[in-house]
């Protein structure tokens, strides 16, 4: 009995094998045919045959590399121009290019090819290819892929790929003439769990289904809309944080020069601009002398920009600003003049046109977080702005220089009596603020045009951020920059980009009326200084 059953099993397996080989043969014969209908049928049969050569043949057909000889034998043209037999994959050295012609395709064949590739990829050993296959079936919703999907789901081990396949199966089933309500409702639930716009359009376009299925689909569409709304909200918050981090970067340096020292530096934007040009110069130099360092040229330009703009800042303080302490309005005018000179100097040296600063490869691209797309450069800028802010706070809090800076801004004469050289501390503080602006320039070179006018666009915003946050308060600056960024991005869809910005400016003007010292005014002795 045992023997008989074993024999029967063997027979069965052999027959199955034979059937499979036979269907592959039939498929190749059809592919070698002359009518588009034959070719299309051949593709479909091939995709179901399970032949190991199937994926290569269909890929070759898609790329126009599948050729047929007069005797209907099929060959794949390899990248080096040689041919190999389509059915076995063995090299065919005796085939020459003029004895074969390409297999023709029309739109019906192309559709069949796409669907076939989708289901063929379902069996690839590479999980990411299987994932792609499942997505392709989901989008094509081809009921013909159902048997292949069933088999693929049965042997799938990767859970995320399996989920995608089940969703694809549900999509294909909703598109088939299946009438079993429970199966269809389960399919609707599976598609709903995907929750993106593709799923929504599929469920929204269902027709001719029973009332229960239609109701389930409508409920699913509503649920997807709700979750899309939440993702949209989250997206706005993240875009707002991104804009806010740019504002924060531009304003952090100003929070030192204006906030801590009380110097109205209208040339602050030009310090940012100089930082961006340092980035450009660093990149050019590295390109010329050490192309291997190209990927980290941006990282190298951060300290360089800090040092160079910091030195410019010290020079400006020693040469101009120290004569104007205690006369804020005159300082404002003189630094405005300075900003004109710096702009024109850069324009004379580098020309008025925009300069290209490359993004390193590790900064390009994007990642998908649920329903939110995050580009890496924005992400890095958010992180960078926070690092700069915290580094600056730590420097003010824990370094001897920071201690002296705080001492001088709180009580200049007492600090001097303690032996602190206040003029040098002034120069270094101003240099620090300018250096931070220079680092902001490195980051802004990645998202903005590097031109002599780069800084002008940020100066009003930066002052607004500092005043809104409360002068002399770095935490306030951070909160105000991020708040302004988010408010701006939430107003944009309602009012449009320009009007949104106007509304923010007007709100800020009104806010300063109510609280002239900003969100977080300093309290205690520091105010009296």
């Amino acid at each position: 009995m045992k023997f008989i059953s074993a024999f029967l099993l063997c027979c069965f397996l052999l027959a199955a094998r034979g059937a499979r080989a036979q269907s592959a043969d039939e498929a190749f014969a059809a592919l070698g045919g002359t009518s588009f209908d034959d070719i299309r049928r051949g593709v479909e049969m091939l995709s179901l045959s399970g032949s190991p050569q199937a994926i290569n043949v269909v890929t070759a057909l898609q790329a126009g590399n599948l050729f047929v000889r007069a005797d209907h034998a099929l060959f794949i043209k390899n990248a080096d121009g040689s041919f190999s037999a389509a059915a076995t994959g063995a090299p065919a050295p005796d085939v020459s290019a003029d004895s074969v012609r390409a297999v023709r395709v029309n739109n019906a064949v192309r559709r069949a090819v796409d669907a076939a590739l989708g289901s063929l990829r379902l069996f690839s050993p590479d999980p990411s290819v299987r994932m792609e296959g499942a997505q392709a079936v989901f989008i094509s919703r081809d009921p013909a892929a159902l048997p292949a999907l069933d088999r693929a789901i049965a042997k799938e081990s990767d859970s995320s790929v399996k989920t995608a396949m089940e969703q694809a199966r549900a999509a294909a089933m909703l598109n088939s003439d299946e009438t079993d309500e429970t199966k269809l409702i389960a399919a609707v639930a599976a598609v709903r769990s995907r929750g993106d716009m593709e799923a929504r359009s599929l469920l929204g376009s269902l027709s001719g289904k029973s009332p229960a299925v239609s109701a389930a689909a409508a409920a699913a569409v509503a649920a997807i809309d709700r979750s899309q709304q939440i993702w949209g909200l989250l997206q706005s918050v993240i875009y707002g944080l991104s804009l806010g981090s740019v504002l924060l970067l531009a304003a952090t340096g100003l929070a030192i020069t204006f906030g801590v020292m009380g110097v109205i530096n209208m040339a602050h934007g030009e310090m940012v601009m100089i930082g961006a040009y340092v980035t450009f110069m660093t990149q050019q130099t590295i390109h010329a002398i050490a192309p291997g360092l190209q990927p980290i040229s941006l990282l190298l330009s951060i300290p360089l920009a800090f040092v160079i703009t910091g030195l410019v800042g010290v020079a400006v303080e020693r040469g101009l600003i120290r004569f104007l302490y205690g006369r804020p309005l005159e300082t404002l005018l003189a630094t405005w003049g300075l900003s004109l000179i710096l702009q024109q100097a850069v324009r004379s040296i580098f020309g008025p046109t925009n300069r290209e600063v490359d993004s390193p490869a590790w900064m390009s691209g994007a990642t998908q977080l649920g329903g939110v797309t995050l580009t890496y450069n924005r992400l890095y800028i958010i992180v960078f702005s926070l690092i700069v802010l915290f580094a600056l706070m730590a420097a003010l809090r824990y370094t001897p220089l920071g201690l002296r800076m705080r001492a001088v801004t709180q009580n200049r004469r007492m600090a001097a009596a303690m032996g602190i050289r206040t003029p040098w501390i002034d120069a270094l503080t101003f240099g620090l603020g300018s250096g931070v602006a220079g680092m902001a320039g490195v980051a802004l070179s990645q998202i903005d045009n590097v031109s002599p006018n780069l800084g002008q666009g940020y100066i009003i915003d930066s002052f607004m951020v500092v005043v809104f946050g409360g002068v002399g308060n770095l935490w306030g600056t951070a909160v105000s920059a991020l708040t302004l960024g988010i408010v701006n991005k939430f107003l944009e869809p309602i009012a449009g980009a320009v009007l949104g910005k106007i509304v923010v400016l007007v709100l800020l003007i009104l806010f300063i009326q109510r609280k002239p010292r900003g969100l977080f005014p300093l309290k205690g002795r520091a105010v009296e200084a």
Binding site: I264, L329, E330, W336, S348, F463
Partner: protein, 376 residues
């Protein structure tokens, strides 16, 4: 009257009117080939300088005598200019490219069907001129009312005036505001039925501008030399003390602030027909700051100095941008730094000693009053 003009004032009045008249005569009464002939573009150029002088006078009134450093005064100037521009647009009538009798070309281009309500009435000249003063005046009054009441002063005030003009700049760039968007208003044909391109019209506009400037100068002198002006100067120098004595500094500030905005608006209204265009670029914060430097060059708190500074800097600008365009920003930037460091009282400060010896009614010079503004 003599006391309000003073010697330097009389000299300025005579110089402005005399020069304008001289330009007019040399333009109209000489042959184009004559060596003393003044081409019409020079006439309009000086007309433009005199409108800038009005803006400078307006800035000097608030900065020199009330200590309010406005970095947004060009907004009032531009608003006045837009009022005049709207009148001139309506004057074009059916002669525009699209030959629409009521709608200006840009509205036809944007497929607008009817005139927006705020364009109504601008075909009437007196109404348009009234608006050139009322709109900047009302904006300044509302802005000033809230700002001075909440005692925003010093640098904070400067920054929010800059935000104000920046917001207006962005707003006027928008096409759906109905002010021609980016291109602004231009292609004007005539004013009060007289073609703008005629030499006589240009000379007439110059003379009118000169007369208006003289009137504004006299009004300013009247304000600052009156009892009111003395309180104003007290507010500028020690606001807190003035308040404790029993005055209401915000009311004094609000009054001159509004008057100053109206003066700037008149300047803008006269600027537009002589230049032939008004666009949102006039709202740029840089323009307002440039106006401040005119005042600083001439001498803050001297009124006549503001006029002198505006004309001199702009003549310099015309010459420089013609001969060495790339050096102009260096020169302007250098001027900002030089004047603030070495000439805190401007050109008029150079004459100050001589004037004092002759026993004129002295205008108090503004210096070192800003020291206490640092902490806001």
């Amino acid at each position: 009257m003599k006391v309000y003009a003073g010697r330097s004032g009389w000299i300025a009045l005579a110089a402005i009117l005399g020069f304008a008249a001289l330009l007019g005569v040399l333009n109209l009464a000489t042959a184009p080939t004559s060596s003393v002939h003044v081409p019409t573009y020079i006439v309009s150029l000086f007309g433009k300088y005199l409108t800038f002088a009005m803006l400078a006078l307006a800035v000097d009134l608030v900065w020199g005598f009330a200590g309010i450093l406005s970095l947004g005064h060009a907004a009032f100037f531009a608003l006045g200019g837009y009022a005049m521009g709207m009148y001139l647009m309506r004057q074009i009538g059916a002669r525009g490219v699209y030959a629409n009798p009521t709608l200006p070309d840009f509205m036809v281009f944007l497929n607008w069907k009817e005139l927006p309500w705020y364009w109504e009435g601008f075909n009437v000249f007196p109404f348009a001129m009234l608006m050139a003063m009322v709109v900047p005046g009302v904006l300044a009054f509302v802005f000033g009312y809230f700002t001075f009441r909440s005692r925003v002063s010093g640098v904070y005030l400067s920054i929010i005036t800059q935000a104000l003009t920046y917001a207006l700049l962005l707003a006027f760039f928008r096409n759906d505001m109905g002010f021609g968007g980016n291109n602004g208003l231009t292609d004007f044909k005539d004013i009060l039925g007289i073609p703008l391109q005629l030499d006589g019209t240009r000379v007439g506009l110059l003379i009118i501008t000169a007369i208006c400037l003289c009137i504004q100068l006299l009004v300013c002198r009247f304000i600052v030399l009156s009892r009111f002006g003395k309180v104003l100067i007290a507010v500028r120098d020690t606001e807190t003390r003035t308040r404790f004595i029993g005055y209401r500094p915000e009311q004094y500030k609000l009054f001159v602030w509004t008057v100053s905005a109206i003066m700037a608006g008149v300047g803008g209204a006269l600027y537009v027909p002589q230049v032939g265009i008004i666009n949102p670029g006039e709202f740029a914060p840089a323009n307002s700051i440039e106006a401040v430097i005119w005042v600083a060059v001439g001498g803050r708190g001297t009124l006549v100095g503001a006029i002198l500074g505006a004309v001199l800097v702009n003549v310099g600008k015309t010459v420089f941008t013609g001969v060495l365009p790339e050096l102009w920003l260096f020169a302007l930037g250098g001027l900002f730094i030089f004047v603030t460091l070495f000439m805190p009282q401007g050109i008029m400060g150079l004459f100050a000693k001589r004037v004092r010896r002759r026993g004129e009614p002295e205008l108090p010079a503004a210096e070192e009053s800003a020291a206490r503004e640092i902490t806001g």
